[in-house]
């Protein structure tokens, strides 16, 4: 049982590699800690963790700027961090605190920061696809050169609104990337059961756009594919789709006993399919960065997450008047 290898030939400079590593490590540390906080009872509600998929959000968002948009899923913390949302604000948001990125009124499934082009995690499966088509339409109409990336799981890939969105994006030739993250599970049902054709990218391609399948555990492979798609969008050549094959190390939600997975499956995947060691193997072998530089980042990330959690725990809950604000601008 050997770990997968990053095989893409894409070249990034040292600063970019360290940034990618920092983002992936921040997501992993955030998710790990939020899982613990959930179990302690400090994070209410439902929480869906992104652990195992970090390479995908990171590789996508490193191809984007603040004037590009992403729309996210239930499993949205990783996308948010990668798009530049404030980690402290996110920790407070998950705890329902007034200092949260959405004043504690959104929660895990509705983290958003429009100033960063992050149009929201989404509690409705496949929910981001129509919104991102609209964001792409907006970028095209206002001629900003921006693109919109809709993150969709293998579960969301079966939603009718997603199919409609792909067709509309092709018809209007919009700068949209349909970024499928196939982690093998839609809740407690396997991808191989729920996707009739067994091929999400093939199905997307049939809508009339370039579509490819990549190894989602290989940051470099995802980066390269996204770069092509984003360039195509910026050049006015219309939408693209990518299906990144990945897994998830946790359940559908924190607390899911995962009875639907074989014994030892997650352990095996952790050994073979963890995108962070795959990334580290590659950059150390290349001598692109030093182990010391990575360790420095590890330490900084740990203290950032610790600080974020401490501050969030200490922060106040919203005042009762907040129940009634932000329903309308005027009413």
């Amino acid at each position: 049982m050997t770990r997968r290898k990053a095989t893409s030939g894409v070249k990034l400079d040292r600063e970019q590699l360290l940034r990618a590593y920092r983002t992936m490590r921040t997501i992993r540390a955030f998710e790990t800690r939020m899982g613990q906080e959930f179990e302690k009872g400090t994070v209410p509600g439902f929480t869906h963790l992104y652990s195992a998929q970090e390479a995908i959000a990171t590789a996508v968002c490193m191809n984007l700027t603040d004037s590009d948009y992403i729309g996210s899923t239930h499993r949205g913390h990783g996308h948010s961090i990668a798009k530049g949302c404030d980690v402290k604000g996110m920790a407070a948001e998950l705890m329902g605190k007034a200092t949260g990125i959405c004043k504690g009124k959104g929660g895990s499934m509705h983290v958003a920061d429009l100033s960063k082009g992050m149009l929201g995690a989404n509690g409705i499966v496949g929910g981001s696809a129509p919104l991102c088509v609209g964001a792409g339409l907006s970028a095209k109409t206002r001629n900003t050169g921006g693109v919109a990336v809709s993150f969709i799981g293998d579960g969301g890939s079966n939603e009718g609104a997603v199919f409609e969105s792909m067709n509309l994006a092709v018809v209007l030739k919009l700068p949209v990337l349909f970024m499928y993250e196939n982690n093998g599970y839609g809740e407690a049902t396997g991808f191989s059961y729920a996707v009739g054709s067994g091929d999400i990218s093939g199905r997307a391609g049939a809508f009339g756009m370039p579509a490819e399948k990549v190894d989602g555990t290989d940051f470099f492979a995802v980066y390269e594919a996204v770069q092509r798609a984003v360039e195509r969008g910026r050049a006015g050549d219309g939408p693209s789709a990518i299906e990144a094959m990945t897994t998830r190390f946790g359940g559908h939600f924190v607390g899911d006993p995962q009875l639907y997975r074989a014994k030892g499956e997650v352990e095996k995947q952790r050994r073979e399919m963890d995108c962070i060691p795959v990334f580290v193997d590659r950059v150390l072998k290349d001598k692109s960065v030093t182990r010391k530089a990575l360790q420095d980042i590890d330490a900084q990330v740990e203290s950032l997450i610790e600080e974020a959690v401490e501050e969030a725990l200490a922060a106040p809950y919203p005042g009762p008047e907040e129940l009634f604000t932000d329903v309308y601008k005027t009413y």
Binding site: G123, V133, A135, L137, S138, R142, A161, T330, Y331
Partner: protein
């Protein structure tokens, strides 16, 4: 002053707003028509011709024909609204709410709240409600109660061309999602409409007739019927006040309550079904807040609890008529404890 139909007002108002503000776009099925066809461009100009000619002025980049794909384009309008555009999304028949409701009540209605007040969604969904065109159960419904019930949405139901202009200007410039519903029997109705710009605020009822014996609250196509009855009864000495709230969300509760405090009697007329409706809602508000003033039970005049029938004979029975309104008024006037 020039007379204009509701159809002309929609055309002219969309046109003037698109000239004024480059972020206003129009999207929907056949808002121009003719794309991918070998015949005329702009063949429809909207299913009912509201937008005829606009594609010639603004081009297909701003007058956007979509596939028949309501979930995608209503959702896309929401996404465009949160990222810098002011879309007007034409949803031909409001019955199609069923295929795009998720985009409306789970997405656009909740962005501002879920995102802690940091998101505007300036979007108008313009659609048609109501029976009377003999088009059967899936093209005749009055589904405004379904959207009125959702926090985060504003719902507008103009009755005449004058109000349509002032309310549509307000709707397009509003930073929240607005559902703008016209009755499909009414858009050829004309009245005097000033050329100059005027905005009618949401939540301000129009007192269409003043009266002292009974308050009739009516919406959309029911307003004209209520007015006809009020004018007839006035000759008999029955003084009927007719209030058109014009928007169901926000609702001008104050106007209704003030009127009932004076008249002591209320009839609510709406073409939607009664169960969980705007009519039931207003009845409840008045029963709770003006209980002491009431001299008779509140009456509602609505469609029955059935789908809209196709056969003209049955459809005419289905739609609340002047006779139904008149009977209800006579009943509350005659009531004695």
């Amino acid at each position: 002053m020039p007379k204009k139909t509701i159809r002309e007002v929609i055309h002219d108002t969309v046109q003037s707003e698109m000239r004024r503000d480059p972020t206003v776009i129009l999207m929907g099925e056949d808002v121009a028509g003719g794309a991918g066809c070998s015949g005329e461009d702009d063949a429809f100009g909207g299913a009912f011709g509201f937008y005829k000619g606009l594609v010639g002025e603004f081009g297909r980049g701003r007058i956007i024909d979509t596939p028949i794909s309501e979930a995608a384009y209503i959702g896309a309008a929401a996404g465009a609204a949160m990222t810098g555009l002011r879309p007007i999304a034409d949803l031909q028949f409001f019955d199609f709410l069923g295929v795009c409701f998720d985009q409306i009540y789970n997405q656009m209605a909740k962005f501002r709240y879920m995102f802690g007040g940091k998101s505007d969604t300036p979007l108008v969904i313009l659609s048609l409600v109501g029976a009377g065109l003999r088009c059967g159960a899936q093209h005749s419904q009055s589904l405004h109660p379904q959207v009125t019930a959702v926090p985060g949405l504003k719902v507008v139901m103009p009755e005449n061309a004058y109000d349509t202009k002032g309310l549509l200007l307000t709707a397009i410039r509003d930073d929240d999602p607005v559902i703008f519903l016209l009755h499909k029997l009414q858009f050829e109705n004309a009245c005097e409409v000033p050329d100059e710009e005027y905005l009618i605020p949401f939540g301000e009822a129009s007192f269409v007739r003043e009266g002292t014996d009974v308050t009739v609250v009516a919406f959309s196509a029911m307003v004209a019927k209520a007015v006809a009855v009020a004018d007839r009864l006035r000759e008999e000495g029955i003084s009927v006040e007719v209030i058109d709230p014009r928007t169901t969300s926000p609702l001008d509760e104050e106007a209704i309550l003030e009127s009932v405090e004076m008249t002591g009697r209320l009839v609510v007329v709406d073409e939607a079904w009664e169960r969980c409706s705007v009519a039931a809602d207003i009845s409840s508000i008045v029963a709770r807040k003006a209980f002491g003033a009431l001299q008779a039970p509140i009456m509602t005049v609505t469609a029955p609890h059935t789908p809209a029938p196709f056969s003209p004979v049955l459809e005419d029975l289905y739609i609340p008529g002047e006779d139904d309104i008149e009977s209800a008024i006579r009943e509350v006037i005659a009531y004695r404890r």
